[in-house]
Structures are given as structure tokens and as C-alpha cells.
């Protein structure tokens, strides 16, 4: 007797696909849609988990763009605190697809709205990336000049990248009422207490997430004169630090990740130029029994990141250098070592 399931591969069944397999080496979990060609220029952005992907791809010989590299004289240990080397531009974490779309739009906006700048203690913060200047800018004018330069560099990024690796992180966001701009961090965390009432909380729906990403794709196609950009989407496995929905944080986190995972799936299903890489599944796989998470049950341990990247490079092999050896990977770190703005919310927890 046969059924629709008779001829399916092992990967189609929970027992043979997951339960009987090691969480450290899930066979055939990811089948790529397309190869990443050695000469493709790669952009990276998203929530903090994307920093791991960017770093490992760079270390493994991929041409990961960095349009705002750190000045040569800056101590390496300060790169991250100034927002350098985290992504392809110095934009910090982009948790939501709307923020991503708005960033692209602002880079090409010929008549931009006034920048949002928060002031605290005589220092000034670029609201769209409040953590790229540890002590804030010296003046409002300096913050504006820094943002002008940032957007100038992003134009090059968005025009030259062949593929963009984007990690979806959150659905919850704070939106500037008047302009509709999404900010990466709630007012009052780094600065902006005095203008908190100018912002409103929003929890994006599946439709929001998908339509914002599609709008970003359209925008890029338009500024690139019809040339599509490819996207490799991932969903951050890192649970929410806190929720402003009024729900329990576990329920809110599950909702958020479910929406993002569904959105990534829909986008992948409906666009040849979009692929989905299952880093979320690798880390949250029940077979791992939570061992990829640090004791705070949130940060992803080095071992987890290693499995994610091993799976990734099994499909997209490291680009071999001229000497025939792979680049020496830097010591992997856990998510605590990458810059997560939202971790600052923990300071408000009891």
C-alpha cells in the first residue's frame, strides 16, 4: 500500500529528519536556491544575530561589503562600540523590515525630512542608530553631518551589492508619530525621555512585515534601474528581551518569531531572488534541548553559532584563498559579544 508519504525522503519525517539526528549536524536541512558566486558582493543587515553571519562569511572568503570601515587608528576593541564592522554599513541593528525599507528610502531621498536627533545631557544621538557613538555626538550639527555621510555611503552599498543577507529580528517597534519612522530602540533607553510621547508602539503584522520587505525590494530595483538584488533571509533565534504588548514575554516572543518566520517563508516562496536560511530552526530545534542557548535562555552560545555556520558553509562552501587555505576564523563569540541594542531593555527589568 502506498500513500503520498511513501516515497518521501528521510528529511520529510520528524523521526528520521530530526529525532534520530544529531542537533549538531542536521543533514539536508537547507537546500540553497542559488549559489553565491565568488565575485558577488554581499551586504549584511538585520538584528544582532546577523553580525555572526557577516563575520563568518567575511572570514571564509566571501566578499562582504563594508562601505564604512573603521578608521585605521581606532583600537580594534572599540570598533563595535562605534558601530564599525558589525554590518556592511554603520547603521547598527535593523530589527524590522520597515526600518530596512525606510533606511533604503532615506539613502536615496532627494528631499529628506529633518533627521531625528535625541539630546541627553548636552550630547546628541542619531535616533536611527543611537549606539554608534558611545557618548553621543558633540552637537546637533555633528550628528547631522555624520548621518549625511552615512547615507552617502549607503547609496554605494545599495547600488553595488549583489546579494543582501538580512536577518529579521523583531515585529515590535517604536514609531515616530509625525514622520512614521521606525526607531531601533524605544525612547528613554539611551536618550529621548523628553520626547517619548512623540513615539507610539506598534507590533507589526505578517502583512506589514511582508509588504515592507517587498517595498524595500521594489525600491532597490527602482534605484538600481531594474536590476534585482538577491536576498538571503534568516530569522533571529534570539527571543525578545522585553515586550511592550502587555502580553507575557514568552507569548509575545513566540508571536513575533512566528510572524517573521512566516514572512520569510512567504517571501522565499514567492520570489526567485529570495532564499531562506534556517538559522532559527537550527538553534531552536528541540533536538538541541536548549543547549545552544546561554543560561539566560536568550543569548546563543558559540556552539550554536558554529552549527549554524557549518550548515551554511556546507551549502555555500568557503571561498578558498589563492594560497589554497581558508581564512583563519576569529574566535567565535556568543550573542553577548555582538551588539544588541535591545539588551539594554534588560536594565528596566526587575
Amino acid at each position: 500500500m502506498t500513500s503520498f508519504y511513501s516515497d518521501l525522503e528521510e528529511r520529510a519525517f520528524w523521526k528520521t529528519g530530526v529525532a534520530d539526528k544529531s542537533a549538531l549536524a542536521l543533514a539536508d536541512l537547507y537546500r540553497k536556491k542559488w549559489d553565491i558566486q565568488p565575485d558577488w558582493k554581499i551586504g549584511t543587515a538585520g538584528s544582532c544575530f546577523a553580525q555572526h553571519i557577516a563575520r563568518h562569511m567575511r572570514q571564509n572568503g566571501y566578499s562582504v561589503l563594508d562601505v564604512e570601515p573603521a578608521p585605521m587608528g581606532l583600537a580594534p576593541e572599540l570598533h563595535q562600540s562605534f558601530g564599525f564592522g558589525m554590518y556592511s554599513g554603520r547603521y547598527g541593528n535593523l530589527y524590522t523590515t520597515r526600518q530596512f525599507r525606510q533606511l533604503i528610502a532615506s539613502a536615496f531621498d532627494k528631499d529628506p525630512e529633518p533627521y531625528l536627533i535625541w539630546e541627553k545631557g548636552g550630547r546628541f544621538f542619531d535616533v536611527m542608530r543611537p549606539n554608534i557613538e558611545p557618548a553621543g555626538f558633540e552637537s546637533r550639527e555633528e550628528a547631522v553631518l555624520a548621518r549625511d555621510y552615512h547615507l552617502e555611503r549607503l547609496r554605494e552599498l545599495f547600488l553595488t551589492a549583489d546579494v543582501f543577507v538580512f536577518t529579521m529580528g523583531l515585529t515590535e517597534a517604536w514609531v515616530h508619530r509625525e514622520s512614521g519612522r521606525v526607531v531601533p530602540l524605544a525612547p528613554g533607553v539611551v536618550a529621548g525621555e523628553d520626547v517619548a510621547d512623540e513615539y507610539v508602539f506598534e507590533n507589526f503584522s505578517l502583512e506589514d512585515v511582508v509588504s515592507e520587505f517587498r517595498a524595500a525590494m521594489d525600491l532597490l530595483r527602482s534605484v538600481r534601474r531594474g536590476q534585482d538584488m538577491r536576498f538571503l533571509l534568516t530569522v533571529s533565534p534570539v527571543p525578545l528581551t522585553a515586550t511592550a504588548t502587555g502580553q507575557h514575554v514568552l507569548a509575545a516572543s513566540t508571536y513575533s518569531k512566528a510572524v517573521l518566520r512566516t514572512a520569510a517563508g512567504q517571501l522565499c516562496e514567492s520570489h526567485d531572488t529570495v532564499d531562506y536560511f534556517p538559522s532559527f530552526e537550527i538553534i531552536t530545534n528541540p533536538a538541541a534541548r536548549g543547549t545552544f542557548f546561554a543560561p539566560n535562555l536568550r543569548s546563543v552560545l558559540k556552539e550554536g553559532v558554529d552549527v549554524v555556520m557549518k550548515t551554511f558553509f556546507a551549502a555555500h562552501p568557503p571561498q578558498i584563498t589563492e594560497l589554497g587555505t581558508e581564512a583563519e576564523p576569529a574566535p567565535a563569540r556568543n550573542v553577548d559579544d555582538v551588539q544588541c541594542d535591545e539588551q539594554m531593555l534588560e536594565a528596566f527589568g526587575r
Binding site: P71, M72, G73, L74, E133, E138, E142
Partner: protein, 249 residues
């Protein structure tokens, strides 16, 4: 009479050559100049003991001896001013550049870069220690010369700097102003940082005109051999003269 001392690595060769040709000038200015030098990073092994700059390295002491005309140790108290010509100049754009680009550099970023440079640079640390050892002596760090306009990095920079309508030039000017303000603020008591002589620099102020690099001589007692043509970091006696005049101005 003012007693002036230049201390550094191979870059003191230009000054050493220059003062040999500046006897009348020195008499007129009522200044006596000594030079102490030792190649490359060998001055890392220098130490300050009992008011003198010395070294446990025989190599360094020997170099001090021939460069100064007989002194194997530098007696700090003998001088009114000691000028250190080693280590990267804090006025170089290299610290702030990322690849060939001059990015927008904020005040906070400049502070972080300068703090790192000051902490890491042995020549700056040596200069500061000398200043701390004797507060009545002025110690000035000029560092090594800014590289020649003919170096590949300078050529690229200068080309972008002069490009019509380019923001590069605007940012480079902003950076120059920022560096000047920030480095001036790093001075303390009898220790200060000085830019290289402005007369030696091209428009942007970040590179040395190549005319001061051509024919630069090797750091040898005879000073009879020139650096290779693609050496863009060592300067000639004309540059050395400008440095002496700059310090005495």
C-alpha cells in the same frame, strides 16, 4: 643661548645634515643643537635613568655616540627643548582614513583614535617620560615626517581632495581642523605635540611636498647614500632645515 636637542630614529638624518649647513643661522639665533638618533624602533629600548636618556642596548648607545658627536647618553637637563622625531605624527590623516577614504570623523571618534595612538606609540611615550623626568625642559613631539606627495596613498588622496564638487575635500578640511584642535588639547605642562613645518606641506596639509623627499639620505655617519626612489617617508636636508626653523620660530 638656547640649547636644542633632536632625538629620534632615521628621521633625524635630515636634521643632522641640515644643521651641518646652518652654522651661521645657529650663531645668529644663538642656538646650539645636538642630535641623538638610533634606527627604526631601537629607541624602544631607551630608558630614562637619573635624568638621562640611555639604553641597555649597545647598538643604541653607539648610535647616540656618532649622531651626537661623542655622547652615548642624552642628558635631559642640558637642554631647553628636546624635539622627538620618531613615531607617526599625530597630524597624519592615516589614523583617520579607512582604505583610501576620508570618512566623516566625529569629535568622539577622533578622541578615541588619538587616545589609542598616544597609548600605543612608543615614541610618544618616550617623549612624555622625558617631559615628566624634567619639568623645566620643553619636550615637543613632531614625529616622523608626513609622507611624500608622490607616495601612492598621497597621490590618491590629493586627487580626490582636488576633485571638483567632491565631498572628500570638504571632509579632509574638517578633519584637519578637528585634528589641530584635538592634538593641541593633548599637550600638558612642558609636553606638546607639533605638526611638521607647514612650509613643507602641500595644500591639504597631510603630505610633504616631494621636493623635500628627493635625495633623502640614509641614516649613516657618512650620510653619503640616498634612500631608494620609492622611499616616500624620509626627507632631505631642506626639510631638516625647515624643521629647525619651525622649532626655533
Amino acid at each position: 643661548m638656547k640649547r636644542l636637542c633632536f632625538l629620534g630614529n632615521s628621521h633625524v638624518a635630515a636634521v643632522r645634515l641640515a644643521i651641518g649647513e646652518m652654522q651661521e643661522y645657529c650663531v645668529a639665533k644663538d642656538v646650539e643643537i645636538d642630535v641623538f638618533g638610533s634606527q627604526r624602533n631601537s629607541l624602544r629600548a631607551a630608558e630614562i635613568k637619573n635624568g638621562v636618556v640611555t639604553s641597555s642596548s649597545k647598538f643604541v648607545r653607539n648610535n647616540f655616540q656618532w649622531t651626537s658627536g661623542g655622547m652615548s647618553e642624552l642628558d635631559i637637563g642640558r637642554y631647553d627643548e628636546i624635539v622627538v622625531l620618531a613615531g607617526l605624527s599625530l597630524f597624519s590623516s592615516a589614523h583617520y582614513q579607512a582604505n583610501a577614504e576620508v570618512p566623516f570623523v566625529s569629535s568622539g571618534l577622533a578622541d578615541a583614535i588619538l587616545a589609542h595612538r598616544v597609548k600605543e606609540d612608543w615614541a610618544i611615550n618616550l617623549a612624555r617620560e622625558i617631559a615628566q623626568a624634567n619639568r623645566s625642559v620643553t619636550v615637543t613631539h613632531i614625529g616622523s615626517p608626513l609622507i611624500s606627495t608622490q607616495s601612492p596613498r598621497a597621490k590618491k588622496f590629493i586627487s580626490s581632495y582636488h576633485e571638483v564638487g567632491s565631498e572628500f575635500g570638504v571632509r579632509a578640511k574638517q578633519l584637519k581642523t578637528l585634528i589641530t584642535q584635538k592634538v593641541a588639547a593633548l599637550g600638558e605642562s612642558n609636553f606638546r605635540f607639533s605638526p611638521p613645518p607647514s612650509a613643507a606641506l602641500e595644500d591639504s596639509g597631510f603630505f610633504t611636498e616631494h621636493v623635500y623627499c628627493q635625495g633623502s639620505v640614509l641614516f649613516t655617519p657618512e650620510a653619503n647614500e640616498e634612500h631608494k626612489r620609492d622611499d616616500f617617508s624620509h626627507m632631505n636636508a631642506k626639510y631638516g632645515r625647515l624643521v629647525v626653523e619651525h622649532v626655533l620660530s
